[in-house]
Structure formats: C-alpha cells, structure tokens
C-alpha cells in the first residue's frame, strides 16, 4: 500500500481531545503510526528527538497557532509535509497557510478518504501537488 518500506509516522496537533483521539484512531486502523499533541509547543519539543513523516495540524489553538507553527518550521527549514485541518472559514488565513508551504488545507469535518488520500499524496512525494488544497 505504501511506497516507502518503513511505516510512516504522522504527528497530529489539535487542542481538542476528542478530535485528536478520533484522528489518531483513524490513522491507526489505516496502518499508520501516529503521535498526538495538544499544543504546537509539545510537538516541537518531540520533533527534536523523533522522526516524523507528516504533520496534521489545527489552526486555532491556545498558545502557538497552526500558522505560527508553519512560520516556525519554514524558518527552521524543516521540509516535513504539513496538512492543515481547520474549521475556520477565513480565506486569508487559508492563503497564508498555503503560502507558508502547507501541503493542503482541509476543512473540518473531513471525510476519512479525503484525509488519507491527502496524507498519501503528501508523503508519496513532497513536491507533487495533490489534495484539494492545491486544486482549488
């Protein structure tokens, strides 16, 4: 199923516990390894010691927001593919996220297939334009 030999590891960052747990379970049943973080700060701490293949992050969060995380990662020249999963409807924020190099922008609630396809596309090739984000 996956082009890469090792099982990829996905980081999920969302301050909402219910959403975080649900995403974790979905990725788990789909054969992915994932780690969940309640804040962007906790993720950044883990990033120092752990290898991740992809990030799924919320935008509105207490402390560092999803946008700030993107800025930070860009500054740190980290090229991990990032999927933004948010319920905010603000086009400016969306444009900003994509401008900062997000792989795609998905709206909550998101269908399982769409999310998994986006993950697959993001990890299959960091440069391939895939997912709804770039197509719209």
């Amino acid at each position: 199923m996956w082009p890469l030999p090792q099982i990829p590891t996905v980081a999920i960052i969302d301050d909402d516990e219910a959403v975080r747990e649900a995403l974790g379970d979905l990725l788990h049943v789909s054969g992915l390894i994932c780690r969940c973080f309640a804040t962007a700060g906790a993720f950044l701490a883990a990033l120092r010691t752990t290898h991740f293949d992809c990030i799924v992050t919320d935008v509105r969060m207490e402390g560092m927001s999803g946008i700030e995380l993107l800025e930070r990662l860009q500054k740190d020249r980290c090229d991990l593919p990032i999927i933004v999963l948010s319920s905010i409807l603000d086009q400016q924020v969306r444009a900003r996220a994509l401008g900062l190099g997000a792989h795609c922008w998905l709206s909550k609630p998101v269908g399982d297939k769409r999310l998994l396809d986006a993950l697959s596309a993001a990890m299959g090739s960091g440069s391939v334009a895939a997912g709804e984000g770039h197509s719209s």
Binding site: V19, D25, V29, S87, V110, D112
Partner: protein, 675 residues
C-alpha cells in the same frame, strides 16, 4: 314617596300649615313636616295609611270624605289621633284636584290647630330641616332570639347583661327606611336608598345604642298606638335629643318607628353646615379614586374572639380555616360607594355595588386574606396590586388599598380604595416587550460577532463524530471485526454528539426570542456560562483571563439569558479593546464580590487603551459607537437590562491603564420589574 310634582312638594315642606295629600281612596301620599309636628306622626309612618284610621272617629271621617268627593271641597273641624295617643283638633280645608283628563288626581288637606291647641313648637321661621324629626322605620326581625332572651330574664337584670343585649338589638336591627333628615344627620355620603337594608348600628351613635335598644324593647311591650320616649344626652349630632319609639301596625309586627327630635348640635348655621356637608359629599363623590365603604364590624368581633383564644399567627389560622375568608366575602357588605367606583366597576348605579365584598376578590382571593390579616394585626392600612373583575366581566389591574377603622371610634367603617392601573400595567407590558425585542436584536447582533467562534466550536465535535464513525466502519470491515474498538469509538461518538448538542442549546438560548424568566441565580454562574460563549474568541486572541469569584455570593433574581448577554457583551468589548495590545500584555480580570449592602458586584477590567474621557459619559447611550460595524446598542441594552434587574452599571478608566466595567445587582428580595 312618589311625588307627582316635586316643586310643589318642596314648597309644602316649607309651609308652617299642616299639608297632606291623599289619593282617591283616602290613603296618605304626602305628609309635610308641619303635619309631622301637629300630629306627631312622622311622614314615613303614615304613608299609605287610610285617612279613617288616623281619625278619632272613623265614622265621622267617612262622612266628611264622602261630602268632599261630592262637592270637591270640604271645610270643617277634624279630630285626628296623634302619636302620643291624644286627639288633636284641627280646623281643616280639603280640596279635590283633577287631571286635565277629568280624572281625580289627589286631595289636598290644609290644617291648623283650633285655638287652644299648640303643637310642640319650634320657631316657625326655622329652616324646615329642624322642624322635621329624624325618623326611622326599622325591622327587629333579626333580633328575635335576643328579644326572647330579654323576655326570659324580665324579672330582673342581676348581672347587667341587658345593657349588652340592648346594644345587640341595635346592631342586628335593619333599617327599612329613613326620612331625609335622618339621612342628612347620620347618612354621611349615603342616600336614603342606600341606608335602607343596612344595620341601624351603622348609623346610630355608639354611646346611645344601648338606650335605643331598651326603648325598642319598651315599645314592643307597649300596646299598639302607644309610644314611648326618652331624652338622650347630647351626642355630637343633636342637642338634647328626644327619641320616641312605637310599634308599627299589625301588618308589620316586627317593625318599629323611631323619631328623634332635637336641634343640630353644631354652632354653625344650618346653611353653613349643609354647604360644608355638600362639599364633603361632593369631594368624596367626585374623588378620582374609587372608594367603597364597607362594614366589617362583625368581623372585628370574631377577631377579638380569636385573639382571646390565643390565636397569634392569623395568616396560619386562615390557611387552616378558609371558611372564615368565605364568611367575610359573603357577610361583609359594601355600604356606600362613590361615582368613580361605579364607573370603574361598571355598575348601573351605587345599588349594583351595595352587596357583600366577596365579588371584589373573586380572582384575587389571596388579597382578601391579606386584608383580613392586616386588620387582625392592628395595622392602620394595607395596600397591594391586584386584579379585579368588573361587573361587566372586564379584568382590571388596580392598586387596592384598605384603611381600617381606628379602634373605639363611633362608626366602625372600613374604606376600600381602588385605583385603576390597567393602562399603566398595559403600557409597562408594552415597554417590557419593546425592551425584550431590543435586547433580542442586540443578542442576535452579538452572536453575529461570534460567528466564527461558534462555527469552530460546533465543528470540533462534528469532526470527531465523523472521523470516529468512519474509523468504526473500517474496524467493522476487517475480517475479524474489533468489537471492543468499535464499542469505544461509538461511546466517543455519543459523547461528542452530546457536546455538540450542548453548544447548540446554548446558542439557541441566546438567539431565541422569548419572554424573560426570573430565576434565582448567582453572578458567578453567569460569569462561568458567559465565558463559554467567548472561550475561543479569547483563546485565539491569546488573552489571559484571571477570574476571582467570591464564595457565598448573595443570590439575585434575574433572567439568565439577559444577564449572560450583559457579561458576554462586556467580554467581547474587552477582547476587542485589547486588539492593539502586545499579546503578552493581554489580560482580562474578572472579579465578583458582595458589597456592604448585600448586592452582588462584578468588575471586568481590560488592559486596552481605556475609554477616551469625552466618551465616558456617553458610552451607555443608544447608538453611540466607536466601532466601524457596531450599531451602538450593546452597552445601551446592557444598561437597560441591568436597570430592569434593579441594578446599576458603570464604566471607568483604571490608573494602571485599561477600562473597568462594574455591574451591581441587588440581592434576591428585590425582584426585577416584570414580576
């Protein structure tokens, strides 16, 4: 008395010659004050009486009457029985008057005493009121058992019990009718028609009730036609009055006539007195407040009895004995009403309202109970708002007041007043509706500012539900479905659905249009609930919130949604005020406390730029706004909501920077205006 020509009658009232009108059959139709003096019979005791029954010799009278009808005129000497049992000899002239149609109209008789007989005289130039005795016809039928008691103890009165029994006779005996002078002397604002049917005691001075009772007993014991009399002490109404009593004819065995003679006990002239009385009567009558006089004297006695039995908690007693309230409603009569009362309660005239008070309290029975409790506890008055159903079925909102009689005064009368508040209540209801509409509009506009927060908040559980459901399907699609995992996910779906439901309920409560509902609550609850609305708004702006809620905050009565609206509004304003402030500096301080008067106080302080001094006095005014998209109704609505709760709201700048809003709400005893 039926009067064919009242002008003629009033002229005859003034005549010093005895003037009597008879109908065709010789029955008395009119009997002037001079006739009262000459023969001693008050007019009301002879009305309708056959002329022959008044004559010393009925045969002689019959022939004189026959001659009159034949000739149309008669002149001669008449011998007529007087009230005191003597015979009065008079020189009389009789004249038959005819209608235009030729039918007999009436017979006029003029009479003057023959020389040698002079009536008990008052100066003839006196005004007629003083020539006329104050006469009463009373019915002692309700005193039957008391009279029997007195007769049973006729032999003697060892323990002085009779005085009380005599008094009781006057308290039970009813007025059949009275003449004008009686109505003028003791009727107060009441006409003769209104006095009829009421208790004698309601009009007879307290000091001489016992003496009157004794005289009544004496008259009843005397043979027919004999009268008994006695002088009474000056009583503030008449000087040295003489009261005479005699039994009515055998057709009315329980009726007694009473005639009181004396000069009005007042130094002022008759005309002055009459004018001042007329003024007083007019004042009461035209008072713009509905006034009803009621006679609750018998209830006073019942209360005294209960007090003697040791009843202290009368309210409690009435809860156990509602029959006493029924009794009051049935047995306490209205004895007089003014014009406004008739207007307000919709009767044809005072007569429609001269009835037991019960109907006034038909739809507000608790008021009657409180009226009774007020009297029992010796208060001088009681007042409250109540609903009353008018005679024509309209339901009115009135301010009802009762003034209780002062203890030991002569006339035991209670006054009810009813002030129509229907229009005011209706207007207040409309204003409240307007305020509710207005605050609803403001809430909706406020929710508009929170749209993105709300969308985010609702989407979170929805996202969790969708993902969990799809994950469950994936587990179920496996060769060996993982039931444990699916059970866990389904439980999470249910929990998220509940969360979404709570959010929707909260928003719906804020968005819906509904009547305010007063409940007991604390400001702390309101603060916690309001923070839920703006949680995301505050979090995404990285505003820190420091909350300090006082324990044991007094409860306030209020509408939860409206108070939440106030706090949410202040929170949004504070969050927006800090937009230009460095993130690290964004702090919102919320504090609740109780002040010395027991009011609950909420203060909300931001670290924004504060309120420009020139705006401070205007920020609660309607349509005052500094925001580009604001309507400027938020704070105006906050103020009107807080005011409706009996509280105050104020704004100030704090020296350390930022604005502080302060809301103060009174403790629970003070209910908001709509209750």
């Amino acid at each position: 008395m039926a009067s064919p020509a009242s002008d003629e009658m009033s002229l005859a009232e003034l005549a010093s010659e005895s003037t009597v009108l008879f109908d065709e059959d010789g029955r008395v139709r009119y009997w002037n004050p001079a006739a009262e003096r000459l023969f001693g019979w008050p007019a009301l005791s002879v009305e309708g009486v056959q002329v022959t029954r008044l004559a010393a010799s009925s045969r002689q009278e019959a022939s004189a009457w026959a001659a009159l009808l034949q000739e149309g005129f008669w002149r001669g000497v008449l011998k007529r029985r007087s009230r005191d049992g003597h015979v009065v000899e008079v020189q009389a002239r009789r004249l038959v008057r005819f209608e235009d149609s030729g039918e007999l109209r009436d017979v006029v008789e003029f009479a003057a005493p023959t020389s040698g007989h002079r009536p008990t005289s008052i100066d003839p130039i006196d005004a007629p009121d003083q020539m006329m005795a104050a006469s009463w016809e009373i019915d002692v039928a309700p005193c039957e058992s008391i009279l029997a008691d007195i007769e049973g103890e006729r032999a003697g009165d060892p323990d002085g019990r009779h005085a009380a029994l005599y008094q009781e006779i006057v308290e039970k005996a009813l007025i059949v009718r009275v003449n004008k002078r009686t109505a003028r002397l003791v009727g107060g604002n009441r006409t003769r028609e209104i006095m009829a049917g009421q208790r004698v005691a309601a009009f007879w001075p307290l000091a001489s009730r016992s003496a009157l009772g004794e005289l009544i007993v004496e008259a009843l014991r005397s043979e027919a036609g004999r009268s008994v009399f006695r002088g009474l002490p000056t009583d503030g109404i008449l000087r040295d009055p003489v009261v005479t009593a005699w039994r009515a004819d055998s057709e009315r065995p329980t009726h007694v006539f009473i005639s009181v003679e004396g000069v009005a006990d007042d130094d002022r002239s008759y005309l002055y007195l009459k004018a001042s009385e007329a003024r007083y009567r007019k004042l009461i009558h035209y008072m713009p407040v509905a006034l009803l006089q009621v006679d609750a004297s018998h209830m006073g006695k019942i209360y005294a009895g209960l007090r003697a039995q040791g009843v202290v908690d009368f309210d409690g007693y009435l809860q156990e004995h509602p029959e006493l309230i029924d009794l009051a409603g049935r047995s306490v009569p209205v004895t007089d009403v003014n014009r406004r009362a008739v207007e307000l309660l919709g009767g044809q005239g005072p007569h429609d309202l001269i009835r037991p008070v019960g109907h006034l309290f038909a739809i507000s029975p608790a008021t009657l109970r409180r009226v009774m409790v007020g009297r029992f506890s010796g208060r001088t008055s009681h007042s409250e708002f109540m609903k009353v159903r008018a005679l024509d079925g309209r339901v009115l909102d009135v301010r009802f007041s009762v003034t209780y009689p002062e203890p030991l005064t002569e006339l035991d009368t209670t006054i009810f007043s009813l002030e129509d508040m229907t229009d005011r209540v209706r207007m207040e209801a409309q204003l409240r509706q307007l305020q509710a509409d207005y605050s609803h509009a403001a809430r909706v506009s406020m929710l508009g500012e929170l749209t993105s927060s709300i969308a985010h908040e609702v989407n979170q559980p929805l996202a969790a539900i969708m993902t969990n459901a799809e994950t469950s399907l994936r587990w179920l699609a496996r060769d060996v479905p993982d039931v444990t995992k699916v059970t866990q996910l389904t439980a999470r779906i249910a929990a998220s659905a509940r969360r979404a439901d709570e959010i929707v309920q909260r928003i719906r409560g804020m968005a819906s249009k509904r009547a305010p509902e007063t409940v007991s609550l604390t400001l702390n609850e309101i603060v916690q609930q309001s923070l839920l609305f703006v949680k995301h708004e505050i979090e995404t702006r990285s505003i820190r919130v420091a909350t300090s809620c006082a324990r044991n905050l007094p409860r306030v009565m209020g509408d939860r949604v409206q108070l939440q609206q106030v706090v949410v509004n202040l929170l949004i304003n504070a969050a927006q005020a800090m937009e230009g402030v460095d993130e690290a500096e964004r702090l919102l301080t919320i504090e609740t406390m109780a002040d010395a008067e027991g009011s609950s106080v909420l203060t909300l302080r931001d670290r924004g730029p504060g309120i420009p001094a020139e705006h401070l006095s205007r920020i609660f005014d309607g349509f005052f706004t500094t925001k580009d998209e604001g309507m400027g109704i938020g704070l105006a609505i906050c103020r009107s909501i807080v005011a409706a709760h009996g509280g105050t709201i104020s704004a100030a700048n704090v020296s350390a920077g930022g604005a502080e809003f302060r809301v103060e709400l009174p403790a629970a005893e003070v209910a908001p205006r709509w209750t």
